[in-house]
Amino acid sequence: MPTESNAVEPRAVSSETLRGGQMWSRVLRRGEVLKLTDVEGGASVAALLFNAEQPLERYNMPDTLKAQHIARLTAGNVLYSDMGRVLCSVIGDSAGWHDTITGHLRADASRAKYGAGTYQAKRNDFYRNTRDNFLIELAKHGLSRRDLHANVNFFVKVVADGEGNLRWVPRTSPGAFVELRAELNVLLVLSNTPHPLDPSPEYAPKPVRVDVRRGPAPAPSDPCRTSCPENERGFTLTDHYFA
């Protein structure tokens, strides 16, 4: 079901559009809300998250899944760090499913699937891959491939059947969005590049709009905080960090 937070004040901090293939990073301050919009439909955005004050603390896929008994992310879920704290809450989501178990595109896989797509031939439409984008953006913050762990894939849906077999679920309607509220000061790294399971043989990543705005602190009745007892405790531990 599409949901969008009404409580967010509409004060834009920044608004920009990422071209297909583009990378991005910034520190979201606690309380800032980032909205990703799949403008044309069919986009996929890979993401890494860190505590900006201490990047040794980072997004932890297994801790996020097992705390909330989920195998995907949607509104009402939160993204946990490996230190029991909430990095971000998913406060709005019209897509209903965001993957975090199937990783990202590497240079070798991109070349095998799409061809070389070199800068020499394509100029700035060259075929960028997620891992190279992550490594470049991580380097700007003093981080390396040692810090590159299981990522989130926004707008990607891959389901597992009863035997565990994966199936890519296409999603093409334009305008899908997801809203993240930062609960720590979060270093967010994005790569707007194709997901390795996308069956399309064409290298054609779609534009994604990135809006950042300030919002109010989560209320005690916040839907992400109260969605399960585990998240109540996760928010308590996060509050202790700033107390």
Binding site: L56, N60, M61, P62, D63, L65, K66, A67, H69, I70, A71, R72, T74, Y80, D82, M83, G84, R85, W97, I101, T102, G103, H104, R106, D108, A109, S144, R145, R146, D147, L148, H149, A150, N151, V159, A160, D161, G162, E163, G164, N165, L166, P196, L197, E230, R233, G234, T236, L237
Partner: protein, 214 residues
């Protein structure tokens, strides 16, 4: 589920050691050697990581392993893929049938989130990993600990996107066996978790064997 027994004889193993629950273990496994982990008493989660022995920044990757085989569970035939896309080891025998790689390792902090703020004192796999790398695998740090494998652990996922920790499907004497495709370092925490059924609420020892290249 791909049950397959091994023909290797424990009496011919070049290495044979018991790892008690709550303890860590690490060792280099050379290319061509075979590693077996035996669940001696049944339903014991064995949190396990692998690193390229010569470049530990190239390490086991759960997302790459899952995606490349198109299935979230590990069993006979699974190739364990590294973060750089290399095959570290292949599962060549498995008498349990299914192993988890989404549940990660228990930690003091995640135990607080999952169970109660007062659970922070309890022993956990992440602490075991950290002590093992401090003592034996320098210069690795917490940065180098990715999402791990949980041999013998049962974490079913539903098509609707649910995930639960269920009673184990392993039993006394069941084992998993892996062939090293390159020189690797194995890092094990024999799980001390007492808050969920992953160890049947009774953590028990496992046995680690290594055979030389055939």
């Amino acid at each position: 589920m791909a049950l397959k027994e091994s023909t290797l004889e424990p009496s011919r193993a070049s290495f044979d050691q018991i790892v008690e629950s709550g303890c860590g273990f690490s060792r280099t496994i050379r290319r061509g050697e075979t590693l077996r982990i035996i669940d001696l008493e049944g339903n014991q989660a064995v949190d396990t990581l692998f690193f390229d022995a010569h470049d530990p920044t190239d390490r086991y990757s759960a997302p790459d392993t899952i995606r490349e085989q198109g299935n979230i569970y590990l069993t006979t035939g699974t190739r364990l893929i590294s973060s750089e896309g290399n095959v570290l080891l292949t599962i060549v025998a498995d008498t349990c049938g299914r192993h988890d790689t989404l549940g990660g390792a228990c930690a003091a902090e995640s135990n607080q989130v999952r169970y109660a703020l007062e659970k922070k004192y309890m022993h956990n796999c992440r602490d075991t990993f950290l002590l093992e790398i401090q003592e034996h695998l320098q210069p690795l740090t917490k940065r180098d600990i990715p999402a791990n494998i949980n041999f013998f652990m049962n974490v079913p996922v539903t098509p609707e996107g649910g995930l639960t920790f269920e009673d184990g499907i392993s039993g006394s004497g069941r084992y998993v066996e892996l062939l090293a495709e390159r020189d690797v370092t194995v890092l094990i925490s024999n799980c001390p978790q007492l808050n969920n059924p992953c160890n049947a609420y009774n953590p028990t020892p496992v046995r680690v064997l290594v055979w030389g290249a055939a």
